[in-house]
């Protein structure tokens, strides 16, 4: 009888002690992990078959993935910029321009620096983290040059092509033009 009680007490103490482990640096125990862990390789996961063990791949050179957008034809250079500025036109017309979505996207991807009104007074320049953001109205830009800048960046601005799809970029361009005209 005494032994039983002792083991029960010991067991209870062990369980209490182990359940009080509050260091959350390691993932918890799993029950039947083969129901939890995927069999296939997961997005952003490891893949030992590829270089540096990374699952993410770029398309093979000279190919375009199904459903992906076509490559941008203008070069990432001063000449490419001038050419796009002169001749590149938006595929959107008054029926397909979606002001609301353009504004939403602009606020997410541009307003941190360029400001909600496009005057270069975003949160980052205000806090002097990222300086030298011009007012759109001061600059001689066209929809082609705006698109080129989103694709490749300009000066200290980086390329935002990976964050927006082609159609979204043109929506943003339309919204920037609207900010310039108001």
């Amino acid at each position: 009888m005494k032994k039983v009680i002792n083991t029960i007490i010991l067991l209870a103490l062990v369980i209490v002690a182990s359940s009080c482990d509050k260091s959350k640096r390691a993932p918890n125990l799993q029950y039947f992990p083969n129901m939890y862990e995927p069999v296939s390789y997961e997005t952003y996961g490891d893949n030992p078959n590829y270089a540096v063990g990374m699952e993410e791949r770029l398309p093979v050179d000279g190919t375009i993935a199904r459903g992906a957008e076509f490559p941008f034809e203008y070069e990432n250079s001063e000449e490419g910029y001038q050419l796009a500025k002169a001749e590149l036109k938006s595929p959107l017309d008054i029926f397909t321009i979606d002001d609301e979505r353009g504004e939403d996207l602009y606020v997410i991807y541009c307003a941190s620096c360029h400001g909600d009104k496009g005057d270069g007074q975003g949160e980052l320049p205000k806090r002097e983290k990222f300086l030298g953001i011009p007012d759109y109205k001061d600059r001689d830009i066209t929809e082609g040059s705006i698109y080129h800048t989103i694709m490749y960046g300009k000066n200290m601005m980086g390329s935002h092509s990976s964050q927006l799809t082609e159609e979204e970029r043109w929506q943003v361009v339309a919204y920037v033009q609207e900010l310039r005209n108001n």
């Binding site: 009680i5 029960i8 007490i9 067991l11 209870a12 369980i15 209490v16 182990s18 359940s19 959350k24 640096r25 390691a26 993932p27 918890n28 125990l29 799993q30 029950y31 129901m35 939890y36 862990e37 995927p38 069999v39 997005t43 952003y44 540096v52 063990g53 990374m54 993410e56 001063e78 606020v107 997410i108 991807y109 941190s112 270069g120 949160e123 980052l124 320049p125 806090r127 002097e128 983290k129 990222f130 300086l131 030298g132 953001i133 011009p134 007012d135 001061d138 600059r139 960046g153 000066n155 200290m156 601005m157 980086g158 390329s159 935002h160 990976s162 964050q163 927006l164 799809t165």
Partner: protein
């Protein structure tokens, strides 16, 4: 008489020197207003120029020592046509492949202001004035220490007095406590019912804790792994108010919310290679944060002094540790929740903008999913496409508003297939 003359001379000299100083200072202030210059510089120049080091363009601190104001003014207003008539300008243009924007809209006064701002200002030693308040603070502290010491001594004295008084009153007290404890123990030893109660108590207790422990198997609420880079959401999303979706771009279109690739980091960190002094916290110093930024550069091969990617650099992936992970038998799609339902990220991920280090905020259990589906009402006003089906649903359930659960958000096959 002689002395009077001398006095006159002296007074005249001082007067004229004061006048000269006055005119001179007036002249200085007419040259440019550095405060306005700073504003203009930050807006128009700082994209490519810094005062203390080269960026896209050369560093501009002390540029007025190298070039004349007229030369700089001509360059700023229209550098392209200035290059055609000035040999120095043509040479200066070779600094970078990028050509500088023409700032024809800047007035002469504004250019003067900017140039005034570029003149290096000697940092005035303020050690004397800074030392004074520190001394005052120290005095404050000693006073506080003394007061605490006095209070402690007083408390000790009162306690001592009380103890002596009780000893005088009752004589041998400590013995009686041990005696009474012994009595209780003896009574307990003989009482079988108490033993039975104790066993029941232990059994219930261990069942409670045992069940509690079993129930948390597979749950990771509060999971906070150590990440390869100590990226602070508190600084980026909190202080700088960068939108979640700026980095987690694919949340609007895809199943996963998207771990930003390093090029997204570089969109800002091409320019920001070190944090401001004010960013440092008690926990992490400025050097610590600068070191963390350096880790991005090491991953992508960016030379922060030359401001370009190192050619032929073997890039290394940054191996972030996944925190939120649903078991493989449950399907979850970010775009459905972010774009269609329009939920805030914080609804599930908690106050990430306040987290220095991200942890799992929600339990991610099925109960937790279902609870939200039961409560959340569908916004039926702004979606013309589903107008008819929404009306039918409202009729079917006899309610004006339909919850996510009534839309089918509780069908097994929606998440498990």
């Amino acid at each position: 008489m002689k002395s009077v003359k001398q006095q006159r001379l002296i007074s005249r000299l001082t007067l004229s020197s004061i006048a000269f100083l006055f005119i001179f200072t007036l002249n200085l202030s007419a040259q440019g207003d550095a405060a306005n210059g700073k504003k203009l510089f930050n807006m128009h120049c700082a994209a490519c120029h810094k005062l203390d080091k080269d960026l896209v363009g050369p560093k501009l601190g002390g540029i007025t020592d190298i070039r004349t104001t007229e030369w700089l003014s001509a360059w700023i207003k229209d550098n392209a046509s200035f290059q055609e008539i000035d040999a120095d300008a043509k040479e200066a243009a070779n600094f970078s492949a990028a050509s500088m924007t023409a700032f024809a809209f800047l007035s002469d006064q504004e250019i003067d202001d900017i140039l005034e701002y570029t003149i290096p200002v000697e940092v005035v030693e303020v050690a004397g004035s800074a030392a004074a308040p520190v001394v005052v603070q120290e005095q404050d502290n000693t006073l506080l220490y003394m007061l605490t010491a006095i209070v402690i001594v007083l408390v000790l004295m009162v306690f001592n007095l009380y103890r002596t008084m009780t000893v005088i009153k009752d004589g041998v007290e400590s013995k009686s406590i041990a005696d009474s404890l012994n009595g209780v123990w003896k009574a307990f030893k003989g009482n079988k019912f108490l033993h039975f109660l104790l066993v029941i108590f232990f059994l219930l207790n261990s069942a409670y804790f045992g069940f509690g422990w079993l129930m948390q198997v597979g749950l990771d609420e509060g999971y906070q792994p150590i990440q390869p880079i100590a990226f602070s959401h508190a600084i980026h999303a909190g202080d700088n108010k960068i939108d979640c979706e700026y980095c987690h771009t694919s949340a609007k279109h895809s199943k996963t919310s998207g771990i930003p690739s390093a090029n997204v980091c570089m969109n800002c960190h091409m320019n920001i290679s070190e944090v401001a002094e004010s960013t440092a916290t008690e926990e992490h110093s400025k050097e610590f944060y600068d070191g963390e930024i350096q880790k991005i550069y090491d991953a992508v091969g960016w030379d922060k002094d030359k401001l370009q990617y190192i050619e032929g650099y073997e890039k290394q992936p940054i191996e972030w540790v996944r925190i939120h992970n649903l078991p493989d038998f449950a399907y979850y799609n970010h775009s459905q929740h972010v774009t269609v339902a329009g939920l805030e990220c914080q609804k599930c991920h908690g106050p990430v903008e306040e987290m220095e280090e991200v942890y799992q905020y929600s339990p991610l259990t099925m109960e937790w999913c279902i609870e939200c589906h039961r409560e959340t009402e569908i916004d039926m006003t702004e979606n013309g496409y589903y107008k008819k089906i929404h009306e039918q649903l409202a009729n079917k359930y006899g309610v004006e508003k339909v919850t996510e659960a009534q839309m089918g958000g509780m069908e097994c096959g929606k998440c498990h297939y």
